[in-house]
């Protein structure tokens, strides 16, 4: 009896000792910081991209971006959406789903492109997922010593520096954009006709015989003054209707579509070409005048500046500032109103007239 008890006690002790220790689940939790994620998961988990996430969710594209594949996606962050006037998820929800989906598809392209894989040139054309081309320009300037620090623009919008570019993910690469890309289906004429702040510009184009060209010419670059700019010089729909085109020099209003000459100029091109402000002779030449859309970015305070200078070449070959209008004009409301890409050209909405019509009478 005693023997049996001892055996039992021994077995019980051994059994308790063997089973008594706590058995932790040794599977480590998923490390969200090192496990490669997809583009969709990255956007989902990034507070700076919450508006982009809302837009992707609304259009059903977030799941698409979680699928295997090889993409380059240009992601506008919340600051970029805010600059466009989209401040919250509620604003995103108000947008038209189809056009929003088109716009988001316009921000992606096939294959992985890191900053260093873009050719060292202007306007490298790539088809976007939506169809129309994206123009990727590698600028002369650089934000640092390495090749990854080169300034790169997509359709006139800067790719953010530092850790906001070359984000390598399972199914592609993300570059964070300074501003959302803009594309309007249709021609320059359709764009101008649809924008209610450009009604006076449309009236001028019709009056001076440029209206049809806005539809047929390709490529075009148009600086379109907003209605307020015309009103500033006393031009209303009524007074435009009464204008006699023959009384004005061709450049008075011909300057806005650059006399319809083939041009394809984004707001950042001048900076991409020279790395600094563009010299007069390298600007867009229209008769004796040179239009120089400058662009500078300060990495120090993360600000952009974009005055459009106008110069005139005098008889002695020397350049001087615009003699018939303001020295500089600006994009209306900042760069958010520049680089509206359409099927046949680029529209920049500006806040002032380049030439004072009164000074451009014959």
């Amino acid at each position: 009896m005693n023997y049996i008890f001892k055996i039992t006690l021994f077995l019980a002790t051994v059994g308790l000792l063997a089973t008594g220790c706590k058995k932790d689940n040794l599977t480590a939790p998923v490390d969200r910081t090192t496990v490669p994620r997809t583009i969709g998961e990255f956007i989902e988990n990034n507070y700076d991209l919450s508006l982009l996430r809302a837009a992707l969710e609304k259009t059903g594209m977030l799941d698409t971006l979680k699928q295997p594949g090889s993409l380059t996606f240009y992601a506008p962050d919340n600051a970029a959406f805010n600059a466009m006037g989209v401040a919250s998820k509620a604003d995103v929800d108000k947008m038209n789903t189809d056009s929003l989906r088109f716009m988001l598809r316009f921000h992606g392209m096939r294959n992985r492109y890191f900053i260093t894989t873009f050719p060292d040139q202007l306007d490298n054309k790539f088809s976007s997922l939506a169809g129309p081309n994206l123009y990727v320009s590698v600028g002369k300037g650089s934000l640092g010593p390495a090749k990854e620090d080169r300034i790169v623009y997509v359709n006139g919008t800067m790719i953010m520096p530092g850790s906001k570019r070359n984000i390598s993910l399972v199914n592609g690469v993300i570059h964070i954009l300074r501003r959302p890309l803009k594309y309007t289906v249709g021609t320059v004429q359709d764009y101008v006709a649809a924008d209610t702040s450009l009604t006076l510009f449309a009236a001028i184009m019709k009056k001076f015989g440029y209206w049809d060209g806005l539809k047929t010419k390709n490529p075009l670059t148009v600086f379109a003054p907003a209605n307020a700019a015309f009103l500033k010089y006393g031009l209303t729909a009524d007074s435009i209707a009464r204008m006699v085109p023959d009384n004005f020099k061709q450049l008075a209003f011909g300057v806005y579509p650059l006399l319809m000459k083939p041009a394809h100029v984004f707001s950042t091109d001048a900076n991409a070409i020279s790395g600094e402000t563009v010299s007069q002779a390298n600007g867009i030449l229209v008769d004796a005048y040179s239009i120089c859309p400058n662009y500078t970015y300060s990495a120090y305070n993360n600000q952009e500046d974009s005055p459009i200078w106008t110069y005139i070449k005098k008889g002695d070959g020397q350049w001087s500032v615009n003699d018939a209008g303001p020295v500089t004009v600006r994009y209306k409301g900042g760069l958010i109103n520049a680089d509206h890409l359409t099927a046949n050209g680029i529209v920049h909405v500006i806040d002032d007239l380049i030439f004072n019509p009164a000074k451009m009478r014959k």
Partner: protein, 390 residues
């Protein structure tokens, strides 16, 4: 026993150690050297135009859309040409982008022909060839690895006829200054057939500027630009041989402003006559130059000479220009010597290298000076010389 093993191993090693090299061979070769002479300044106005970064394709195969898929001979990464075309490829240069074809590409180079070192020429099969020059993006991806939509546009698509064992220099040139039309220029060089003395330095001149260059090139005088870089269609060349004295160059007595001949703008592919100057004009320097010698070529408009046009500042535009070859300093030039090309480090158009027991030893060369749209280019061809003895 051990000895037998050793012998066996020695036998195996001996049998395996011979190197079996397959030597490349080009049947009936012609010798070809190619320069991309297109040069343009990107502005907002012309940024959509094709840029002059080229790929040369000889006998290409095109797909249904006209995009090249392969080619018999590829001269990829053809950059704008350098101001001095060296007499031999720069062996330590490993850059991808080439300033000429073949440059430092691993191709069958030309032989020593009649004593001239043609190692800067590539051997290509003679006969008729289709040749295409296509623009390409400025990156380091080989042309046929590029996506098809990035394979540029054809600037030139033509046929050339190369004769056996002839030496050719080919340029991609701008034909018309206003339309920016490009064209191919093929020159059958004849220096290998001429009885040139090895104690004379030979040089000939071309003005390969585009049609209408002087008339339409900007007439404005830019205060930042070096003046006197634009020349008229007909100019006369006068040469001076200079040496360094103190910090100044002074002409060697008897070699100041001597006439050479005319330079007339033409893109016809004929060889212009060679002029010469002595290899050792300076009798005071043991007849061996160890440095600090240069050649100055001055270009004067018709009717002007170094005697009549003393102050070049007051001449009409296009009437004066000059090219200093040698150590004329590092500046971008001034109104008196607007073009400066160093060429050989010590002696300009004369090649000075370690040869035999002498270091340096000076050798005469055959040179070509080409003026193309406000740019000056020098090509130096050297003779074979004895290797150095250390």
């Amino acid at each position: 026993m051990n000895k037998r093993y050793f012998l066996f191993i020695a036998m195996v090693v001996t049998m395996m150690s011979c190197r079996k090299t397959e030597f490349g061979n080009v049947e009936n070769p012609a010798y070809l050297r190619v320069f991309n002479c297109l040069d343009f300044n990107i502005t907002l106005d012309n940024k959509d135009a094709p840029q002059p970064y080229l790929t040369m394709l000889i006998d290409p195969v095109l797909d249904a859309d006209g995009i090249p898929e392969s080619a018999a001979i590829i001269g990829d990464f053809l950059d704008k040409r350098g101001e001095w075309a060296r007499p031999y490829p720069d062996a330590v240069n490993t850059t991808t982008w080439q300033k000429e074809y073949p440059g430092t590409l691993k191709v069958m180079a030309g032989p020593i022909l009649n004593g001239y070192d043609l190692s800067s020429w590539a051997q290509v099969p003679s006969g008729k060839h289709r040749i295409i020059f296509r623009t390409r993006p400025y990156n380091t991806t080989p042309f046929f690895s590029l996506e098809k939509n990035l394979r540029g546009v054809s600037l030139i698509d033509t046929t050339i006829d190369l004769q056996t064992r002839e030496v050719y220099t080919m340029h991609v040139l701008e034909r018309d200054y206003l339309t920016r039309k490009t064209g191919l220029y093929l020159r059958n060089e004849n220096f290998v057939k001429q009885p040139f003395s090895d104690s004379m330095v030979y040089v000939n001149f071309y003005n390969l500027s585009s049609e209408g260059f002087f008339k339409y090139a900007s007439q404005k005088i830019d205060h930042n630009a070096v003046p006197n870089r634009k020349i008229r269609d007909t100019m006369s060349v006068f040469y001076s041989i200079t040496r360094m004295k103190g910090l100044q160059f002074e002409p060697i007595p008897g070699f100041n402003g001597l006439p050479m001949g005319p330079v007339i703008r033409s893109q016809q592919s004929h060889v212009n006559p060679y002029y010469n100057f002595p290899l050792f004009p300076d009798t005071s320097a043991s007849r061996v130059f160890t440095g600090n010698i240069g050649q100055l070529f001055r270009f004067y408009g018709q009717g002007l000479t170094p005697e009549t046009a003393v102050n070049s500042s007051y001449l009409p535009q296009g009437s004066y220009s000059a090219l200093g070859v040698g150590d004329f300093g590092y500046g971008s030039g001034n109104q008196y010597v607007p073009f400066r090309i160093q060429a050989d480090l010590r002696t300009g158009l004369i090649v000075s290298v370690h040869s035999g027991a002498i270091n340096p030893r000076s050798f005469a060369t055959v040179n070509t000076i080409e003026y193309i749209n406000e740019k000056m280019y020098v090509t130096t061809i050297q003779r074979k010389y004895a290797p150095p003895v250390y």
